[in-house]
Amino acid sequence: MPSRTAAGGRAAVVTGAGVGPATRRGAPHAPAWLAALPALVVIGLFSAYPVLVMVANSLGLGQPPADGGPTLEHYARALGSVTVREALLNSLYIAVGSVLITLCVAVPVVLRQADDDRAGRRGGAATDALLTLPIALPGIIIGFFAIVLTGRTGLLGLAWDGFSGLAYTFSGLLIAYLYFSLPRVLGPLRGAAATLDPSLTESARTLGASRPRVFLTVTLPLLLPAAIETSGTAIAVALGGYGTVATLSEGCGSCRSTLPTNSPPGTGSPPRPPSR
C-alpha cells in the first residue's frame, strides 16, 4: 500500500515533464538512492533474508541439519497431516470470513463518515477515534474481550445462555477476528471513500437512478479496487494473527485449532504458550 506515488499528477507542463530529479548542478552530490540504503539494508537483512531462509529450509535447500537435497516432502508431509490441513482450512475460513463480513459493515460506515465529513457534521472525530482504536490492541486483548463477554462466566451469558462459552467456538473466534480486522479494513477504505466525488452519485440520481441502483452501479464499482486491495492485506494479517487464538485456546482443549498455534517454532528456543 505505500508503494503508490503521485508523481506528475498535474497536467501543466511545469511538472508534467519535470518529474525527473531537480538538478543540483554545480555542487556535485551523492546519488538519491543512497538515502534509501539504510532502510533497504534493514529490510533485506531482517525481512527478506529470514523469509528466504525459511522458504529455502522448507524446500530442503538449507544447510544441515536440514535434510539434504531439494524436496517438497516437508510440504507434502505438512499437507498430508489431517490436523495441519484442518487448521489451515479453519484459518482460511476465519480470515476470509471475518474480512468479508467486515467489508460489508465497513462500506456503509465509510460512506457515512465521508458524508458527515463533507457536511461538516460534528462527532466525526469521536467516531473516527473509536473505530481506529482496535488497530493498536494486540490480538490477545481482543481474545480476552471475547472471554469477558462470552466466556463461561461472560457478561453476555447473563443475558442469554447461548452466549456462554461462545468465545471458544468457531463463531466466537469469527467475531473476535471481526474486531481484529475492523480497523484494518476501515482505515484504508476511508481514504478511498473520502476521494469519491459526490457529484458522481448526484449525477446518477438526477439521471433517475434509485438509491440502491446508484450504490450498486456507481459507488460500489468505484470503491471496489480499494476494497479488494484492503481485504487482501487484511486477510493476510488475519491469517497470521496469533494473539487472539492463543488467548482463546487457553484452557480450552476442545476449541478448534487454527494454523498460527499449530505451527511450532522450528528453530531457536520454542516459547510455548504458558499453560496452566
Binding site: 511545469v14 456503509p108 457478561l155
Partner: protein
C-alpha cells in the same frame, strides 16, 4: 441506514471495553457484574507488576519510532521523488511483513539471528521491519505532493540551501503525515504481540507478553484491570493519530 450501521459498529467496538472495565471493578466477576461490590483494588494490584513492563514497552516503542523516522524518512523521500521500477519493487519489499504471517517471520528471525535476541536488538529490529510499511504509507504521498515540490523549488530559488528547505518547507508541510506515522508506529509497536512473543528476550518481556501471561495465570478481574491499563496507554496515542489525520490538508472539498 448507514447511520444505524455506524452506530452499531461503534457499539461493537465499545461494549467489550466497557465489559472489561466492569470486570476490572468487580470484587468477584464470576458472580455477575459488580458481583460482591465495586472495587478499585484490582487496579492497585495490577499496576506494580505491569509498571516495569510498560516502561520497557514504551522504551522499545520510542526507539522503534526514532529508527522509523531515521531510516524510513529518507526511504520515503527516495520512493516519492525518484519513482521508477526500482522504487515500485522497494514498495513491495517493504510490504513483505504485512503479507507474511507475523509469527512466521518472527520464527524466521529468531532462527536466523539467535545471537541478537538476548540484547533485545532483534525485538527492536523486528518491530522496525513490521512498522516501516506504515511509515512509508504515511510519508510517501505527502512527499510526492506536487505543491510541496513547487514550494521547495521556489524556496531554493530564493536562496535557501537544502537543509533550510527541509527544515522550513518540507518538514512543516509533512507534519501531519509525520505525526500520523509516529503515532501509528508507536501504537503498533506498543501493542505488537507476534514478534514480541517469539523474539522477546525471555527475561525481559514487553507489555503484550506480560498481559498474555496474566491471562493464562491470573484471575479474570486482575487481567481485566491490566488490560484497561494497557488500553489507557494506547487510547491517547490513537486519538492523536485521528486528530492528525483529520487535520490533513485536501480533505475538505
Amino acid at each position: 441506514m448507514t447511520r444505524l450501521i455506524t452506530r452499531l459498529t461503534c457499539a461493537f467496538v465499545v461494549i467489550p471495553l466497557l465489559a472489561t472495565l466492569v470486570a476490572a471493578t468487580s470484587v468477584d466477576f464470576s458472580q455477575g457484574p459488580w458481583g460482591g461490590g465495586l472495587t478499585l483494588d484490582w487496579f492497585a494490584h495490577a499496576w506494580p507488576p505491569l509498571a516495569p513492563v510498560i516502561g520497557r514497552s514504551l522504551a522499545v516503542a520510542a526507539l522503534v519510532v526514532v529508527l522509523n523516522l531515521a531510516v524510513g524518512g529518507p526511504l520515503a523521500w527516495w520512493v516519492a521523488r525518484h519513482p521508477s521500477v526500482l522504487t515500485r519493487l522497494t514498495g513491495y519489499l517493504v510490504n513483505v511483513p504485512l503479507a507474511v504471517p507475523g509469527i512466521a517471520l518472527s520464527v524466521a528471525l529468531v532462527g536466523t539471528y539467535p545471537m541478537l535476541r538476548p540484547s533485545g536488538l532483534l525485538l527492536v529490529l523486528g518491530h522496525l521491519v513490521f512498522t516501516l510499511p506504515f511509515t512509508l504509507a504515511a510519508l510517501v504521498p505527502a512527499l510526492a505532493d506536487d505543491e510541496l515540490r513547487t514550494n521547495e523549488s521556489v524556496a531554493r530559488s530564493l536562496g535557501a540551501g537544502a537543509v533550510r528547505v527541509l527544515r522550513t518547507i518540507t518538514v512543516p508541510a509533512c507534519l501531519v503525515a509525520v505525526t500520523q506515522a509516529v503515532t501509528m508506529v508507536f501504537a503498533l509497536s506498543f501493542g505488537e504481540f507476534n514478534v514480541s512473543f517469539f523474539v522477546n528476550p525471555p527475561a525481559t518481556p514487553t507489555a503484550p507478553f506480560a498481559l498474555f501471561d496474566s491471562y493464562s495465570t491470573q484471575r479474570l478481574e486482575l487481567a481485566s484491570a491490566q488490560s484497561m491499563i494497557f488500553v489507557a496507554f494506547v487510547a491517547p496515542v490513537l486519538t492523536a493519530i485521528v486528530l492528525a489525520r483529520r487535520r490533513a490538508p485536501g480533505r475538505t472539498p
